[in-house]
């Protein structure tokens, strides 16, 4: 009995670590979608940033902080490119996101081979030391940072005038423009921010959570983040909850695999987080959430 309780506690703590990438990327994407720009390339941005962070840590000796910064910069740059293409060149946001995802898979495999001579992964290294260790799980500084960011973004969107102006862009850019909002600028900035958080999420995966870059290591987390955006109903506070929930199922799968040590079962167990995502989104689809009305469509001035 004590053991079960202990295991449950471990899973609950481990979930704090697994929630970070899903939640961070979702938080940025909420801001971006509130401004009207969808980036389904989160997965790709995370993967590229994870690679850049690992590579710069291993090969350039920039340290953990340096690797985080570089990962974030890559994310920001990709987010801004996506923003500029969507906003000024009126590109199809979905197609560009898909392109980014496909590109990231190929580019990181090639990069891995170029640097380390294998296609599968980088050499392992010690992940960034945690702040504190609870139940054998290290708590990265990004855990409290992510939670704080969720609260700050909620306040930003709901309580500040700038947040209000940003929301107006995703609802009705024409009216927003008529009320003096520089819609295109807001949208590009928001898209850049979404890239930035996805970049941080990716860097977290390689240098903080795992201590390695592995092929396809994001494993759909970018898409789970998108599911979390919908689950939250574009509310950063609920995205924290959703992120923890999705993180919990990932942690559960990890713990079950360790506990059972059953090779045959592990593939099935690994599907738990994805099935949970599916279930959560299906439930949300029945709830009526307020989707930003001008989402994913380029705003073309008269």
């Amino acid at each position: 009995m004590v053991e079960v309780v202990g295991d449950a506690a471990t899973v609950a703590v481990l979930a704090l670590a697994t929630m970070v990438p899903i939640t961070l990327a979702a938080l940025g994407e909420i801001v971006s979608e509130k401004a009207g720009i969808v980036n389904i390339g989160l997965e790709g941005i995370m993967l590229l940033a994870a690679w850049v962070a690992a590579a710069s840590y291993l090969e350039a000796g920039v340290g953990y902080i340096g690797a985080y910064v570089l990962g974030a910069i890559v994310g920001l740059a990709l987010g801004l490119i996506h923003g500029v293409l969507s906003v000024y060149l009126k590109g199809d946001q979905i197609v560009m996101g898909i392109g980014l995802n496909i590109f990231a898979v190929g580019a990181t495999i090639l990069g891995t081979y170029a640097l380390w001579g294998v296609f599968s992964n980088s050499p392992s290294f010690d992940p960034m030391p945690g702040l504190i260790v609870v139940s054998g799980v290290k708590i990265s500084p990004l855990v409290p940072a992510t939670i704080a960011l969720g609260i700050v973004l909620w306040a930003f969107l709901q309580k500040t005038v700038i947040g209000l102006r940003l929301r107006a862009c995703g609802e009705d850019p024409r009216s927003a423009e008529a009320m003096g909002v520089n819609v295109l600028l807001y949208q590009v900035m928001a898209a850049g921010f979404s890239g930035l958080t996805a970049g941080l999420a990716g860097a977290y995966l390689s240098i903080d959570y795992q201590g390695v870059f592995a092929k396809n290591m994001t494993a759909g987390r970018g898409f789970i983040a998108l599911a979390n955006v919908a689950f939250s109903g574009w509310d950063p506070l609920l995205a924290l909850l959703g992120g923890y929930l999705f993180g919990f199922f990932q942690a559960l799968a990890i713990s079950l695999n360790i506990a059972l040590q059953e090779e045959a079962l592990s593939s099935i167990i690994n599907t738990i987080p994805y099935l949970a995502t599916l279930a959560a989104v299906a439930v949300v689809a029945r709830r009526r959430v307020r989707i930003p009305r001008w989402i994913g469509r380029p705003y073309i001035k008269e």
């Binding site: 209000l164 609802e171 009216s175 008529a178 009320m179």
Partner: protein, 497 residues
Amino acid sequence: MSKGSRKLVEMRGIVKVYPDGVKALDKVDFDLAEGEVHALLGENGAGKTTLMRILYGEIRPTSGMIIVRGKEARWRGPWDAIKAGIAMVYQNFRLVDALTVRENLLIYLSSLGVSRSEAESRIMSVAEDLGLSIPMEARVEDLPMGVRQRVEIVKALSGGARVLILDEPTSNLTPLEAEGLFRLIEKLKKRGVGIVYITHKLREVMSIADRVTVLRKGRVVGRSVRGDRFFSEEKLASLMVGEVLAPQRSLGEPGKDEVLRVESLTVESGEGVIRVRDVSFKVVAGEIVGVAGVAGNGQEELVEAIIGVRKPSKGSVYVNGVRVRSARDFYRAGGGFIPGDRVRALAHELSVADNAAFIYYTGSRAILMTPSRVKQLFHRLVREFGLKAMSPSTPVGRLSGGNQQKVLVGSEFLRGFRVLVAVNPTQGLDVATTAFVRDLIVKASREGVGVLLVSTDLDEVLELSHRILVMSGGRVVGELRRGEASPERVGVLMGGS
């Protein structure tokens, strides 16, 4: 212009030539003084809105001069105009529907550099001064059009506007809301606000304008001040249209065959509220039956039940003797429909040809479209209905309102029907197009079509109907024959006695 009042703005010799060579405005002069309502009257496409968008900084004039309080102004964009105290209230309001009133006002005022607390107090003082109650916490989308318009006006004034441009301000309002607007305009005048009132409705000019400038095809064709000999509906109408319209219309003789029968129809809204209560009537071939009433008294639900898109909770509808249970039944039995809302009825991003084909093939059993027929459809719209469109592939959204209506009405007429249900068929149209559409309806009835004309425009119902059913609170509260119907009698019934 009332004597001694200062000029707020003056426009001199405004010319606007578009890149494609179309001359939208030709040496137009316009001015506005404090505390007056200056109506800008003209048909659709006469250049009224273009002229005001120039004043508002949205469009740059090709040549000409704008003078604001004695100084020449050069706008780089609307915000220069807004900062100089000129605000425009568009026909389709520029408010973010999903946000609350407060949030909308905050966005606008913050763009003007007004702090949050200052914004609150400004809004409150403007609303209080005008005696308006503004539901600050309500989402814009939940508000009636009349209230949204008040919000727009409060928005403009709290931003410091002294010149208010109202673009067709009553087009989305119920008659009651329009009354409220007129009272508000009176109050604004007293406070020295100058109002430009863009309209094509003569009656509104007569009731609130102090001065009127008439535009036709980009030129000023007349000016008049309240009290002078041109200030009459007839004079202004002839200036505006350039020809005298036949005032009275003779209708054909209705036949004998019953083509539409509605039997004790009761319709509920989605929430279970009864919107149509036990309504029965019939329409015979060649007869035009008008349905009059204030918008929202069950007409919309009645029409939806007749054309088969809303299931009645009781009663039945027959078209040419066929019971209507679905829209398909309605169209296949020979029904025709002109919806009241062309914004929703047309796919704005799709081409004229696609929209026309979509309407034309309604209820058709055809599997494939015939390209030659679609092309022919477009040419017939141009030839027979006077549609002005560059090509069949022009998106419908690019057309003017009048031309959009021609696509909607024309395609349905080309499809053909034996019973026509028309809802506000001339809403938002200019005088010439209105007359054209009304002619079409009368002509169809002469050829044996039975018409149910549902319109909130009382003049239209009176002009076109053999019989008038008056709806109030979901019931038919009265039936008047042509000859015995007058605006007063119908009006009394509409009020719900």
